[in-house]
C-alpha cells in the first residue's frame, strides 16, 4: 500500500469535556533506580488535557522508565503519579481502560492477522471504537487479513498504534513510535499522530528525534540523566538558544597549519574572540573540528564571518547554516549531540 496518504478525518470524542477540568498527568518527585543506575532522578511534570507532550532525550536519558511508570508498568521508588486525577495504586483497572499504550519493541504474534489482533485488543476494553474504525485510522484496510509477520516495519508500528487506540483512550502513551522506521514510514506515522491530536486526546510520547518532537509536540521536556533539563514549547526552547540560526563551518588544515607546527586540529587556530565580536553572533563552540556559531541576524553576520576568517588566513572547507532546532537546544545545554548516544 502507499505510505503517503493523508491522515483520516478525526473521530469525535464525547468524553473530552469532562476530562478537560484538570491536568491529564501530574508527576511529583518521581525517582527510580535500577541496581546502581539512577534512571529517573526527581522528576516533576504536569501535562494538561488535550496536549501532545514530548519527552525528548538521548538513549538512556530515562524517557522509557518515565513513561512506563506513567503507564503503570513500573513502580517508582519515590514520588507521585496522577493520571486523569487517578493513581495506579487505587484505580489501576479504571486507568487501564482510560489509557492507550504503545510500547517499544512489542512483537505481536506473526501468525495472527491484523484484524484478529485488533479484535483481541478491542475485547479488553469496556468501551472503545469499532475494530473497523481502528483499521481505517491506522490505514491498514488493505492489510486487514494479512498476517502480522508479513507487515512492514511501518505497518507493524501502525498496528501497534491501532491497538493503543481501540479503547478510545483519554490518554495515549507512545514510546519511541518511529524508532527504526524509514523516513517515509515515519512521516506517515506523524500524520496519524496529528489526526489523534485533533481528536483532543492527551498524547505523551518519547523520542530521540528532535524533528519528531518539533513536528508533533505542543510542549517538550528535554531529558538527560533522568532529569528534565528544559521544558517548554519547541519555539520557546529554540528561542532559548538566543539566536534563530546556526552557522557551521570547518577550516582546512593545509592552509592554516604552518610547517613544523604542533600536530593539532585546525580549529585551534581560529580566533573565537574575533568571531564573537561580530554583531549578531551569540556563541561559539567546536565539536569534532566543526565550529558552530549561533547567529541572530544571518545576512549581516555571514559576510563578517567570512571576512574574519579571511583575515586569519584560514581556508574554509565546509560552510552551512540552518535554523536553530531542538538539537541545538540539547547541544547548548549538555555540550553533547542527541544522536551521538
Amino acid at each position: 500500500m502507499t505510505e503517503t496518504q493523508t491522515a483520516p478525518p478525526p473521530t469525535p470524542r464525547p468524553s473530552q469535556d469532562q476530562a478537560a477540568r484538570g491536568p491529564s498527568l501530574v508527576l511529583r518527585g518521581l525517582r527510580k533506580t535500577f541496581a546502581d543506575v539512577v534512571a529517573v532522578d526527581g522528576l516533576d511534570l504536569e501535562v494538561s488535557c488535550g496536549e501532545c507532550f514530548g519527552l525528548l532525550g538521548p538513549n538512556g536519558a530515562g524517557k522509557t522508565t518515565t513513561i512506563e511508570i506513567c503507564e503503570g508498568l513500573t513502580d517508582p521508588d519515590a514520588g507521585q503519579v496522577q493520571l486523569l486525577g487517578l493513581d495506579w495504586r487505587n484505580s489501576a483497572s479504571q486507568l487501564r481502560q482510560l489509557t492507550g499504550v504503545q510500547l517499544q519493541e512489542t512483537q505481536f504474534p506473526d501468525k495472527l492477522t491484523v484484524e484478529e489482533t485488533l479484535r483481541l485488543f478491542r475485547s479488553f476494553f469496556h468501551r472503545g471504537i469499532p475494530v473497523e474504525e481502528s483499521i481505517r485510522t491506522a490505514q491498514l484496510e488493505e492489510k486487514r487479513n494479512a498476517r502480522v509477520g508479513t507487515l512492514s516495519g511501518g505497518q507493524k508500528q501502525r498496528l501497534a498504534m491501532a491497538c493503543a487506540l481501540v479503547g478510545d483512550p483519554e490518554l495515549l502513551f507512545l514510546d519511541e513510535p518511529t524508532t527504526g522506521l524509514d523516513p517515509q514510514a515515519r512521516r506517515h506515522l506523524w500524520d496519524l499522530v496529528d489526526a489523534l491530536k485533533q481528536d483532543g486526546r492527551t498524547i505523551i510520547l518519547t523520542t530521540h528525534y528532535m524533528e519528531e518532537a518539533e513536528r508533533l509536540c505542543d510542549r517538550v521536556a528535554i531529558m538527560d540523566h533522568g532529569r528534565i533539563i528544559a521544558l517548554g514549547t519547541p519555539q520557546q526552547l529554540i528561542a532559548s538558544v538566543g539566536a534563530e540560526h546556526i552557522v557551521e563551518f570547518a577550516v582546512s588544515a593545509q592552509e592554516s597549519a604552518g610547517p613544523g607546527s604542533a600536530p593539532g586540529p585546525a580549529h585551534g587556530f581560529v580566533d573565537a574572540d574575533l568571531l564573537l565580536k561580530i554583531p549578531g553572533v551569540q556563541s561559539h563552540r567546536v565539536d569534532a573540528g566543526l565550529h558552530q556559531l549561533s547567529v541572530s541576524v544571518l545576512h549581516t553576520a555571514v559576510p563578517r564571518i567570512f571576512a574574519a576568517l579571511a583575515a586569519q588566513h584560514l581556508h574554509l572547507s565546509e560552510f552551512r547554516t540552518h535554523s536553530a532546532s531542538l538539537e541545538d537546544v540539547f547541544v547548548g545545554l549538555t555540550g553533547r549531540n542527541l544522536r551521538d548516544e
Binding site: L73, R96, Q97, V101, T106, K111, L120
Partner: protein, 343 residues
C-alpha cells in the same frame, strides 16, 4: 455481534487455536507423531510364534530325544565344536554325555538359555523313562490386552499428553514474554487470569481431538482394549493434561528466553521419559528409587491409564495415582502463580 464474540476470554481462547493450528510443526508433534510411534512399535513388537531355541548335543541319542520337541532345534556336535558354538551364540545350550549322565553348559543369565535347559532336561528325562506325576495339558491363549502394543499405547498417550501440555503452554508463554507481548498485554485492561485460563480452555479442546485421534487409531488398527469406563478414562486424560499444563506454566513462569525454557522443559521431561514406564514397566527400576519413580506425575498418569484401559480398574481403585496427579497439579499451579513474571 453477539456478546460471546466480544468477550475477552473468548477472543484469547480463539486466538490460542489460531496460533496452534497455524503452526504446522505443532500439528505434527501433537497429532501425527504419536500415531507414527504407535505404528512403529506395533510393527517392531508384533507377536511372533514362540522362538525355536537352538541347542547342541554331543551324542546322536540325545539329539534324537530332542528332535520331537517343537520348541528346540538340536544339532549333534563334538565337545570342542559345541563349546565354540556356545561361545559364539549359535546355540544356547550344549548337552554333554558323560559316564554319570548329562552335563548342561549354558549361560544362566540368559532367560532363553534357562528355558532351553528346562526343555532339554525334560525331553532327556522323558526319553530315559521318567513319567509325569500329574497329567498336564496346555491350552494356548493369544489374547488382546496382554500384547506389547496394549501395554505401550497408554504409555504413549501419557507421554503425548505431557509433551503437548508442557510445550503448548510453556513455549507460548515464554515466546510472548520474549517478544514483549506479555508486557503489552498487562499494559492493557486484559484480566490476567483470563490469559492463563485461555490456555487451559484451548488445551482441553485440543485434548479431545488429540486423545480421540490417537486412541481411535489404536482401537481401529491394533484393537487395543478399553476395559474401564470411558468417562473415567476421559477424566484421567483431563487430569493428566491439567497437571502437565500446570508444570508447563511453572517452567514458563520465569524463563526469559526460548532457549532457557527448552532447557528447563527437557530437564523436567527427560527423567520421566526414562523412569515413568512409557515403553517398559517402571517396576523394573531398583526398589531404592521406586518411591521417586512412583511420585513422578507421568508414572502416576500412565499407571492410572493402564489400570483403566487394560485392567478395567475404577477410579476408586486408582485413587493413589489420581491423588499424585492432583497434588502435582495444585502445587505446580500455586507456585507458578506466585512466581509468575508478566514482563
Amino acid at each position: 455481534m453477539n456478546k460471546l464474540r466480544l468477550s475477552s476470554l473468548y477472543q484469547l481462547t480463539v486466538i490460542r487455536f489460531f496460533l496452534i493450528l497455524r503452526e504446522p510443526e505443532a500439528i505434527f508433534w501433537i497429532f501425527v507423531f504419536p500415531i507414527l510411534l504407535a505404528v512403529g512399535l506395533g510393527i517392531a513388537f508384533r507377536n511372533r510364534p514362540a522362538d525355536v531355541l537352538p541347542v547342541g548335543a554331543t551324542t546322536v541319542q540325545i539329539t534324537q530325544a530332542l528332535a520331537a520337541d517343537k520348541g528346540l532345534s538340536a544339532t549333534t556336535l563334538n565337545e570342542a565344536a559345541g563349546t565354540h558354538a556356545l561361545a559364539t551364540g549359535n546355540i544356547l545350550l550344549l548337552a554333554i554325555q558323560n559316564p554319570n549322565g548329562v552335563t548342561y553348559e549354558f549361560d544362566d543369565t540368559n532367560p532363553d538359555a534357562r528355558i532351553a535347559r528346562m526343555l532339554v532336561d525334560r525331553d532327556i528325562q522323558a526319553a530315559a523313562g521318567q513319567r509325569e506325576a500329574i497329567h498336564a495339558q496346555s491350552q494356548l491363549v493369544h489374547e488382546t490386552g496382554s500384547r506389547y502394543i496394549d501395554f505401550v499405547v497408554p504409555g504413549l498417550l501419557g507421554m503425548n499428553l505431557m509433551g503437548s501440555a508442557m510445550w503448548g503452554l510453556g513455549f507460548a508463554i515464554v515466546e510472548a514474554r520474549q517478544k514483549k507481548l506479555l508486557k503489552r498485554l498487562v499494559a492493557s485492561p486484559m484480566p490476567r487470569w483470563q490469559y492463563l485460563l485461555s490456555f487451559i480452555l484451548s488445551r482441553l479442546v485440543m485434548l479431545v481431538i488429540e486423545v480421540v485421534a490417537f486412541l481411535g487409531f489404536a482401537r481401529l488398527v491394533f484393537a487395543v482394549p478399553f476395559r474401564g469406563p470411558l468417562v473415567q478414562l476421559a477424566f484421567l486424560c483431563v487430569l493428566t493434561s491439567l497437571c502437565f499444563s500446570a508444570l508447563g506454566l511453572l517452567v514458563a513462569s520465569r524463563a526469559k528466553t526460548m532457549e532457557a525454557a527448552s532447557g528447563l522443559m527437557n530437564l523436567v521431561m527427560l527423567p520421566m521419559w526414562i523412569l515413568s514406564g512409557v515403553f517398559f514397566s517402571a517396576s523394573r527400576f531398583p526398589a531404592a528409587i521406586q518411591p521417586l519413580v512412583r511420585a513422578l506425575p507421568l508414572t502416576a498418569a500412565i499407571d492410572a491409564m493402564r489400570g483403566n484401559m487394560l485392567q478395567g480398574m475404577s477410579l476408586a481403585q486408582l485413587a493413589t495415582p489420581v491423588a499424585i496427579l492432583a497434588a502435582w497439579l495444585v502445587v505446580a499451579f500455586a507456585v507458578s502463580l506466585r512466581i509468575f513474571r508478566w514482563r
